[in-house]
C-alpha cells in the first residue's frame, strides 16, 4: 500500500470526486447533500463502533467479503454512497473515510458554490428565521448556503451554527455555563 502523502491525497480526492459527481448526476444538489449527511453519520458510527471499523478494515477478510459486509450494512443509504463505501472497503481504504468526507465538503463548496451550515435549535425554524440565518451566513462565507436543520432540546434555547469546522455557539446552555463560570470566579 503506498504511503506517500501525495498519493494518499490524490486517492482521497478521487473518491470524493466520484462520490460528488455521481450523486449530482443521480439526483442533483439534494442527492449531494443527502450523501454528505449520510457520510457524516457513518463516520461518527465508525469512530465509536470498533466492531464495524475492524470488520471493514480487517485484511484477513478477502476484499469481496469486506465489500459484501459494507453493502449489507450500508444498504439503506443513497446507492451512490453505498457503492463508493463498498469499493473503499474492498480496497482497504475505509479508514480514509473522514478525509474523504472533508475532501467532499471542500469540493462541494468549490464545484457547486454551496456551503452547508448546520443549524441546531430547540424549536423548528420558520421561514423568516431561515432567511435571517442564510443571509448572515452568506455574508460571512461568501458562497450560497444550504441550511441543515436539527432540533436538540438539550441546548435549552438559542442557536448553534456550524460551517466548515467553525462554530458560532449562541445556545442558551453555553451562555448559562459561561455565566456560571463567571459567577464562580473569585474577584
Amino acid at each position: 500500500m503506498p504511503n506517500n502523502r501525495h498519493v494518499q491525497k490524490e486517492k482521497v480526492a478521487t473518491y470524493a470526486a466520484v462520490l460528488l459527481d455521481s450523486a449530482y448526476q443521480a439526483g442533483g444538489q439534494d442527492a449531494v447533500l443527502q450523501v454528505r449527511d449520510q457520510a457524516e453519520r457513518i463516520m461518527r458510527i465508525e469512530r465509536s463502533n470498533m466492531d464495524l471499523a475492524n470488520a471493514l478494515e480487517d485484511s484477513s477478510y478477502t476484499p469481496e467479503q469486506r465489500g459484501q459486509v459494507a453493502r449489507g450494512v450500508f444498504a439503506d443509504l443513497n446507492p451512490v454512497l453505498t457503492e463508493v463505501l463498498a469499493v473503499m472497503a474492498e480496497r482497504g481504504d475505509f479508514a480514509l473515510l473522514s478525509r474523504v468526507w472533508a475532501s467532499y465538503q471542500e469540493q462541494l463548496e468549490r464545484k457547486l458554490d454551496v456551503t452547508v451550515v448546520d443549524v441546531t435549535t430547540v424549536v423548528p425554524l420558520d421561514d423568516h428565521l431561515r432567511e435571517v440565518i442564510a443571509k448572515k451566513a452568506e455574508a460571512d462565507l461568501g458562497t450560497k448556503v444550504v441550511l441543515r436543520e436539527q432540533i436538540d432540546p438539550s441546548i435549552i434555547g438559542g442557536v448553534l451554527l456550524t460551517a466548515n469546522g467553525q462554530r458560532i455557539d449562541a445556545s442558551v446552555v453555553s451562555q448559562l455555563e459561561r455565566a456560571r463560570n463567571v459567577l464562580k470566579e473569585q474577584n
Binding site: 469512530r47 465509536s48 462554530r167 458560532i168 455555563e177 459567577l183
Partner: protein, 523 residues
Amino acid sequence: MLVTEITAQSIDEALRKQLDALSTSVESREVGTVIQVGDGIARVDGLKDAMAGELLEFVSSTGQVVYGMAQNLEEDEVGAVLLGDVTAIKENDQVRTTGRLVEVPSGRAMLGRVVNPLGMPIDGKGPIQAEGTRPVEFKAPGVVYRKPVDEPMQTGILAVDSMIPIGRGQRELIIGDRQTGKTAIAIDAIINQKGKDMICIYVAVGQKASTVAGVVETLESYGAMDYTIVVNASASDSAPLQYIAPMAGAAIGEYFVYTGENGETAGPDNPGRAVLIVYDDLTKQAVAYRQMSLTLRRPPGREAYPGDIFYLHSRLLERAVKMSDEMGGGSMTALPIIETQAGDVSAYIPTNVISITDGQIYLQTDLFFQGQRPAVDVGISVSRVGGSAQVKAMKQVAGTLRLDLAAYRELKAFTQFGSDLDKATQDQLTRGSHMTELLKQKRYMPMPVMDQVVAIYAGGKGYLDSLPVEDVVRFRTELIDYLHASKQGIFDALYAEKKLTDAIEADLNAAIEAFKLSFAVSA
C-alpha cells in the same frame, strides 16, 4: 489584618459584580471532533488553525470540560494530550480551540500551597487568587538580558557550599542512585533559604503522593512552606501532566523573576525576585514524555526516547536565569535531580542533563552506607560557574580543604596495603580523615555560611587533628554553639568583612584554643 466576614450581602455583591462583567457576545470558534482517544492522548479531526501547544477544550457528552494541549499538528488531524480527567472524553466529543497557549496562574498567593501542574490547588485550602499567569512553554531570555552568576545560593550543606558552590541563576544537577539522599539535599537547600528572600518551588514528578506529603510536612515543620510552592504531578497523574509539571513549575517561578513586588514588569527600579526551583526528578519526566510521544506515534530513538528529549531538557533548564540589572536582576536557580541505575551516569538521560547543566553533585551509594552523609563525592562533583559567586571567606578556607581531601584520597589508596608510614604521610591521613568527618551533616540541619567558614577553618588549621575522629562532629557543633554564645563578635566581624582578616584570624585562633581547653574528649 484583613478579616473576611461571611455575610449574605458580601456574596450578593460579589455575584452582582461578576454578573456585570458577563458579556453575552458570541464569537465563532473552531470546533473539531475526537476521532480516537486513549492513554491520555486524543486524535482530533478538524481544528485546522490550532497552534502547537495551544490549550484545547474538550467537551464531554455530559458537558464536562477537560483541557488538553495540542501537540502533533498533522495535515488533517491534531494529536492532543489530555490534562485532566482522561476518562470523561469519548469519541465524537467536541473539541474547541481557545486561542491561548497553556498557562498557569502564579503569584504570592501560591506560596505555601500544593498545586497540580495546571496551577489548581490540591491541598484542600481553598481557591488561589493568582496575581497573573505565565505560559507553560516559554522561550528563555537571550544573552543581552542576562548577566553572569554573581550571588551565592547557600544550600547550608558544608560539602556543597565549600567545594561545589552554587550561584543564583545556576543550574546544578543532583545525580545519584536511588536512596542516596538526592531529595534530602534539595530539601535542605530549600530549608536554608529561610529569611533569605528567596522563593522556592519544589516540583515533584511521578512520585508517590505519600512521599510528596512527607516532603510538604517536613517543609512545614521547618517553616519553609511560607516561601515555597509545591507543584505535584504524582505517579497516578497522566503522563502529559507529569510531562508539563516541570515546565509549569518554571512558569510559576518565572512570574516572580519577571515581575516585581508591585506586580509590574521587573526593571531597574522594580527588582525581580530570586527563585530556587527543584525538579524532582527529570528522569521521570523523560519517561512520561517517552510514553506520551510513543502514544502520539512519534518515532522512537535511543532507549525509545523521542528525538527531541534533549531539547525538552535543554529548553527547560535554559529557563534558569540571572537577569541583568536593567531587567530587574531577578534570578531562577534550578536544581534538577536525575536518578541513575547502579551508578551508570553514561545512560542517555544522565549524559544529556549533565551536559546541559553548570555542574553536578554526585551522590554515591557506598559513601552513603559508609555513613558519610550527605554522600557527596567531592572528588567528581563540580560547579562550573558558582565559584565566582562564592563568599570570599569561604573561598579562603575551602582552598586548603580541597587540597587536603585530594591528598587524602590519593594517599588512602596507597596506604590500604598497610606498610610503615612516615610522619608526614600519617599527618596527612589524619588531617584527611578528620576533614572528611567534618563534612558529615545531619538532615534538615543547614549551617549558616559563616558557621561553615569557622568549622572548616578549625579543621584546616589542624585544631581537630588531635581529637578522636568520632568527636569531630560534636566538636564542630559545640564549638559553633560556644562561639555564638560567647564570642558573637567574631561572627559579626566575619559578616561585616566577608573575609578572614588577620585580626579575625587571631581572634578565632584564640577562641578555638580556649574552647578546645574545655572540650571533653569522649572515652
